[in-house]
């Protein structure tokens, strides 16, 4: 962790009626990194982001931005609940959002035109927002959040409602922002997309932190099993495979491969020699546990712990 994080959050709490939306959350974000809050709907991600931006006041806890200047003008925000003025010209709206973030009218207009050019929407600059397709409206919303080249951008579910092509474009733009020095905090429940972008990840569930770290760290911590995809010359019987020492589970795929999960106490060499003794191996691939699986494991573990302690 950096000595001079751009944001430090300590013991943040927020309760709505009887629901604890955020429950003692602490984390810090380093300058220039992409930090992701990851969790299912209702995990407390949006509430956390809103508290960071002073849209909602926390019940307790501290939020400290280390930015030189006014946080409101140095931060950009893409809210989960999207909306812009549907019946006003796009360029005018973007210029207004730039002005609200401390830009002069001329600078805001220039930046809006630049971004519209990059989004291939220059010819629509004076059209009303409602005349654009949903995907293009999303682009405009995104531009409105980062038009002032923020030092810190908070993007709440930036990929929701986007098709795969636009998702990739957004990923490129976010990477570009990072290269230009913007620190990015994004929240999402689309784990595969977060996996492509994030330097560090905070896994959240029911307002609490499950784990915080880099993706390899998360894998290291959560990986209790290895996974191999094996194609045998002659497919051994599943019961024989599962009876093999170290194997925890096997799945036969439709294309003739066998997914073999084995415990971490067994080394890869040991497992390979045991499998080879059953039948000749034609091909073998190892598979990493993805974020989705890790998240499910951690959530399940947290839930079990909670139930056990009760």
């Amino acid at each position: 962790m950096s000595d001079n994080p751009i944001l430090q959050v300590e013991d943040l709490r927020k309760q709505f009626s009887r629901t604890k939306a955020v429950d003692g959350l602490s984390f810090s974000i380093n300058r220039g990194e992409i930090f992701a809050l990851l969790g299912p709907n209702g995990a407390g991600k949006s509430t956390t982001l809103r508290m960071l931006l002073d849209i909602i006041r926390p019940d307790s806890g501290t939020i400290r931005f280390n930015l030189d200047g006014n946080v409101r003008t140095l931060v950009g925000y893409l809210p989960e609940d999207r909306g812009l003025y549907p019946d006003l010209p796009i360029l005018r709206t973007l210029t207004y959002f730039g002005q609200l973030r401390g830009m002069t009218t001329a600078d805001a207009r220039r930046s809006a035109i630049d971004w519209l050019k990059r989004a291939e929407l220059t010819d629509r600059a004076n059209d009303k927002l409602l005349t654009l397709s949903k995907g293009n409206q999303q682009k405009i919303q995104f531009i409105s959040a980062i038009i002032h080249q923020p030092r810190f951008a908070i993007l709440d579910e930036p990929f929701s409602g986007l098709d795969p092509i636009n998702q990739e474009k957004f990923i490129d733009t976010i990477r570009e922002l990072k290269q230009q020095g913007t620190t990015i905090l994004l929240s999402s429940h689309q784990m595969a997309l977060v996996e492509k972008l994030a330097d560090r990840i905070l896994l959240m569930n029911q307002g609490k932190s499950l784990f915080c770290g880099t993706l390899p760290e998360i894998r290291q911590r959560s990986a209790t099993e290895g996974k191999l995809m094996v194609r045998f010359a002659e497919q051994p019987d599943q019961s024989i495979l599962e009876a093999t020492d170290g194997v925890t589970r096997t799945i036969m795929t439709e294309d003739g491969e066998t997914i073999i999960e084995f415990d971490r106490m067994t080394s890869l060499n040991q497992m390979m020699s045991r499998l080879a003794s059953l039948s000749a191996i034609v091909s073998v691939r190892s598979s990493r546990t993805d974020l989705h699986d890790i998240y499910l494991q951690l959530t399940l573990a947290a839930t079990n712990t909670k139930h056990t302690s009760q």
Binding site: I55, P86, Y96, Q99, I154
Partner: protein, 396 residues
């Protein structure tokens, strides 16, 4: 960190945005042109409908034999004299006649028509004149003496305090109307600006950039300016139109300015402007609680702006009662009641100053309340919160 200069700049950016978003001079002029066209058409239609037909109505007169009948109008002179009421009424029902006048005695008459007719008053006047002539003739008194007997006395009213001049009264009435116009013109915009933005989910992104107080102040200011600009344009065009009318009717252009008391007008303008801003702050607070303008239980509150107009006109009738004195200090009504009292009543300087100070304090408090309510309800887009809930949340 607070930076008043930066806050002021942002407030002005929001105010200018709201103003340019809603105020469209082109639309205003088109609206006015449509109003003038509708006015001219209505005038033409009304005058045509009210115009007496060249042809006299067909009337039958039934009178007792021997009664002197000496009508003064063509309508009655050319009426057919009949003796049988039933026959006349039958002809009336068959639309052969338009009216049947039954003379019951020298001073009692009855007119039967299918429905009210404008010419009945002309007949009535003729009959009264005939009756007067008959009385003078029968009693042998002179016309002058008869007029003295029948004329009612007059009461001359003398007031110790200077009576209000017509110019001052007209000025006060104009400003009461302007306050009402300013409030109602801007309140529709206030709704769209706050509830509409919440519905369209624009608010969250904006208040991540500016403080809720700045956003609210900008809205109140920008939309008040919309109403104020509208009434300024209407005011200028009304004066121009009236001047043109005066010029055409030979009274001269300057006659219009004779109707306006300029020193009062400046003070009334101050009350009108502050009153419009105060009401906008009030409407902003109400709008912040509304999640769906089409189905809100708080829509009834939006009729409250009628209050200053009603009380203003009441004050024009009876300005110096204790209740009116209170209303001239009460910020929701002072904008209209104080000008009315200043013209017609007995108002001390300290009352005017106190009223202005209370109005300013009310604006400050109302905008604070609007900000607090907005901040509390900003993310609520579903079920509308009750007043009690908003109060509880705001306190917590």
């Amino acid at each position: 960190m607070n930076n008043p200069k930066e806050d002021l700049k942002l407030t002005w950016i929001v105010a200018r945005w709201e103003f340019t978003r809603f105020y469209k001079i082109r639309n205003e002029l088109i609206g006015m042109a449509v109003m003038i066209v509708v006015g001219v058409i209505s005038y033409l239609v009304t005058t045509t409908a009210m115009k007496q037909p060249d042809e006299l109505p067909r009337i039958a007169v039934i009178k007792p034999a021997g009664l002197v009948w000496n009508p003064g109008t063509d309508m009655l002179r050319k009426a057919s004299l009949m003796t049988d009421t039933l026959t006349a009424c039958k002809q009336l029902s068959q639309e052969q006649l338009e009216g049947v006048l039954v003379i019951l005695s020298g001073d009692r008459w009855k007119i039967i028509t299918p429905a009210p007719r404008k010419w009945i008053s002309e007949i009535e006047s003729d009959l009264k004149k005939q009756h007067n002539a008959w009385v003078i003739n029968a009693t042998g008194i002179t016309t002058e003496l008869y007029e003295q007997v029948t004329t009612q006395g007059t009461l001359e009213r003398v007031y110790l305090r200077e009576t209000p001049d017509r110019a001052g009264k007209i000025t006060a009435m104009v400003f009461i109307i302007f306050i009402l116009m300013g409030i109602f013109l801007s309140f529709a915009y206030q709704f769209t600006a706050i509830s509409g933005e919440k519905q369209q989910r624009i608010t969250e992104q904006i208040i991540s950039a500016v403080k809720p107080g700045i956003w609210m102040d900008g809205k109140i200011l920008g939309i008040s300016l919309t109403g104020i600009t509208s009434i300024t344009v209407y005011g200028i065009l009304t004066v121009l139109g009236f001047s043109l009318f005066m010029q055409l009717t030979g009274k001269g252009f300057a006659a219009v300015f004779g109707m306006i008391h300029l020193p009062s007008a400046f003070l009334f303008l101050l009350f009108a402007l502050l009153s419009i801003v105060m009401w906008n702050a009030f409407l902003a607070a109400i709008s912040s609680m509304i999640t769906d303008p089409n189905n809100s239980s708080k829509n009834g509150l939006l009729m409250l702006p009628l209050l200053p107009a009603m009380t203003g006109f009441l004050a024009l009738g009876d300005p110096d009662t204790g209740f009116m004195q209170f209303l001239s200090l009460f910020p929701l009504t002072s904008g209209s009641v104080m000008p009315a009292r200043m013209v017609l009543g007995n108002v001390q300087t300290w009352e005017v100053i106190t009223s202005l100070l209370i109005l300013l304090a009310a604006i400050w408090l109302m905008r604070k309340a609007a900000t607090l309510i907005f901040r509390t309800t900003v993310l609520i887009t579903g079920k509308e919160p009750s007043f009690a809930e908003v109060w509880r949340w705001a306190r917590s």
